[in-house]
């Protein structure tokens, strides 16, 4: 029985529960048995993609006319929760495909681009990646140096490098953000749909990761990459366009982190009830009960935050600052829960057979990506004081 201490189920629609239950079962049956090995081997389990696509998990909150499931944002969040209960790498794959590639094509693309790309991305035929972060520009993407120059015939030539790119090596298409025509101002930033087999485009696996090991993370290099005039996302303009994508993705991450936390809590709870030490289950000792009570409390708070944020998003009244609060809170609590769960598991907790240490390591990436914990702190600080502490 899944963790639902505050009967959150009663606040979900029948359809939202049905979506969650289908994804939950997919994760239990198809992700759980293989994810420990995939993590140890450092490989994204590609074989899951067709099944995820068939279930409709890619770009699930985009409209049906583009081959997507047309779900509301709460159902979308529940998908992210269940996927990350499996592994942050699996959720990251779906987040990037849906919120960072399909969403910008949907939001900033021409009708022709949407019809061309979205159905094939929903069906998993085409995998995408999102190139914003650069080796020297992470938390301050406005400083990016990737540059696109328009040619006389209306085509574009792009030069630059992007780093920490999820799905980078398996992607057939990249949404690349670049400044344009030598203008260093962030307002010149535009999005481009770049096929990864374009001449001058290379993607290289980032080796040596101790986190998100079951995820494809790459560095992209664009060396005089030539794309036609219709590769530009016509409605993109300025840094706010990629930031809008990140708001979508961060919303999903707030739910995803909840999934990881629930996975760790349930593992710790089940272990505490069966592991016998000093002649009785360790769950009978006060120290472990305090840990479990703290974990449960934080999970319930996170569930309420994400659910309400989802309702606001569905009503169209949510703010990016609210998303910052949810991402910051939920990822932080999940990292703490994962660590406490790992500790409750004792020596066994360091084995890949158990999920908590894998989640613990994954969540360090999640803590850092999509706006670091600290940057979200400053966003909230600015929201309440009106004073900018970034610079």
């Amino acid at each position: 029985m899944a963790t639902d201490f505050f009967n959150i189920d009663s606040a979900l629609s029948e359809e939202e529960r049905a979506v969650r239950d289908s994804v939950r079962r997919f994760v239990d049956e198809s992700v759980m048995p293989i994810i420990g090995d995939a993590y140890v081997q450092g490989k994204f389990p590609k074989q899951l993609i067709p099944r995820m696509a068939e279930l409709g998990l890619l770009g699930a909150n985009l409209p049906e006319e583009y081959g997507c499931a047309g779900l509301n944002n709460v159902a979308y969040g529940l998908i992210m929760q269940e996927l990350e209960r499996g592994d942050s790498g699996i959720r990251s794959f779906a987040s990037v495909q849906g919120a960072l590639v399909m969403y910008p094509i949907y939001a900033f693309g021409s009708e022709e681009q949407k019809r061309h790309w979205l159905p094939k991305m929903a069906s998993g035929e085409i995998i995408g990646c999102f190139g914003l972060t650069e080796p020297d520009y992470g938390s301050n993407p406005s400083g990016m140096i990737t540059m696109a120059r328009e040619q006389k015939d209306g085509s574009w030539v792009i030069n630059g490098a992007k780093m920490w790119i999820t799905n980078g090596s398996q992607a057939k298409v990249a949404v690349v953000w670049a400044k344009t025509n030598g203008d260093a101002d962030q307002r010149s930033i535009r999005g481009f749909i770049v096929p990864t087999d374009a001449k001058g485009f290379t993607a290289k696996d980032q080796k040596g990761k101790l986190s998100l090991r079951a995820s494809d993370t790459s560095e992209l290099v664009l060396d005089d990459v030539h794309v036609p005039g219709d590769a530009i996302l016509p409605k993109s303009g300025g840094l706010k366009s990629p930031l809008m994508c990140l708001t979508q993705a961060r919303y999903g991450i707030s739910w995803g982190a909840l999934g990881a936390a629930i996975g760790c809590y349930e593992e710790a709870l089940s272990y505490a009830k069966t592991r016998v030490m000093f002649g009785r289950p360790i769950g009978g000792f006060q120290l472990q009960q305090a840990r479990l009570a703290d974990m449960l409390t934080e999970i319930v708070k996170g569930q309420l935050v994400s659910l309400h944020l989802g309702r606001l998003k569905d009503a169209g009244t949510f703010t990016p600052q609210q998303v910052s609060l949810a991402k910051r809170n939920n990822v932080n609590m999940a990292t703490n829960i994962a660590r406490e769960a790992r500790r409750m598991l004792g020596g066994n907790g360091i084995l890949a057979e158990y999920a908590s240490m894998r989640h613990m390591a994954n969540l360090e990436s999640v803590y850092t990506y999509e706006g670091t914990h600290d940057i979200h702190t400053l966003i909230l600080g600015q929201a309440v004081t009106g004073l900018n502490a970034f610079e």
């Binding site: 029985m1 009967n7 359809e15 049905a18 289908s22 409709g56 998990l57 049906e64 499931a69």
Partner: protein, 250 residues
């Protein structure tokens, strides 16, 4: 091919059940519900049959309060075409009452196959399917674990104690589905969205008073704690003695 599937809403079993204050029903607080497992396999069998024959309709029936619509819609999200709720405040304890209400509804149309799950996992009832067959004057094959239907006839396998039995039958027929016939499909998200738009008709169930009533419900007695007789080979004679004289299993 016209196919009916009758399904039951049952509590998800991985909870600790409590008896309600009336002493004769289950306390429903905190329970989660799903389609009875065997009925999911019945739905899957119906969908596979429709897919194999390439045309036809799968209609799902469930008797109970409005809450059963959630289970009907799950079957619709798997791919069934429409649903019918036979509305009643609660499903009665008497399987014959349920069978009569279902038969009264099913009689209104011609069905090639009427599917049931072999057993309801909550009440352990297995009689509704065969009773409906009797009331409709149709042959019934219960607890099937394989199925082949072609040209108006069918063959099914039934698992017996230490053998299996192959049964041939003409259509129309009532079949109850055992474990092992198939594994039900997961509803995909498009299916879940499409299910909202599929027809779900609500009709009053024609229930009679019934003759079977639950008068009391009690939890099984707590199992007594085990006893450690000793360790190693030295303990064997005493163990054998107790198994003979006390447990009387040897």
């Amino acid at each position: 091919m016209k196919i009916a599937v009758c399904i039951k809403r049952v509590p998800v079993m991985d909870v600790r059940f409590r008896i309600a204050a009336d002493g004769k029903s289950v306390d429903e607080t905190g329970l989660k519900y799903d389609v009875n497992d065997f009925d999911l396999w019945a739905v899957e069998a119906a969908l596979q049959l429709k897919e194999k024959t390439g045309d036809g309709e799968v209609v799902v029936f469930s008797l109970g309060p409005d809450a059963v619509q959630e289970q009907i819609r799950k079957a619709l999200s798997m791919g069934a075409d429409r649903g019918v709720q036979l509305k009643a405040d609660r499903a009665p304890a008497d399987p014959l009452s349920i069978a009569k209400a279902l038969a009264a509804e099913l009689k209104a149309s011609q069905w090639d196959v009427v599917f049931f799950g072999k057993v309801a996992i909550d009440s352990a009832d297995q009689s509704v399917g065969p009773m409906v067959a009797e009331l409709l004057g149709l042959p019934c094959v219960s607890a099937i674990s394989s199925l082949d239907i072609a040209n108006g006839r069918g063959t099914a396998k039934r698992e017996l104690e230490s053998a299996s039995e192959i049964v041939e039958f003409p259509l129309p027929v009532v079949l109850t589905v055992d474990e092992g016939l198939n594994k039900e499909r997961l509803p995909n998200l498009k299916g879940i969205m499409a299910a909202k738009k599929k027809p779900l008709e609500v009709k009053p169930a024609q229930l009679d008073a019934g003759t079977v009533n639950v008068v009391a419900m009690e939890l099984p007695a707590e199992r007594a704690a085990g006893r450690i007789i000793g360790e190693g080979a030295a303990a064997v004679p005493e163990l054998v003695r107790l198994l003979q004289t006390e447990a009387k299993v040897l």
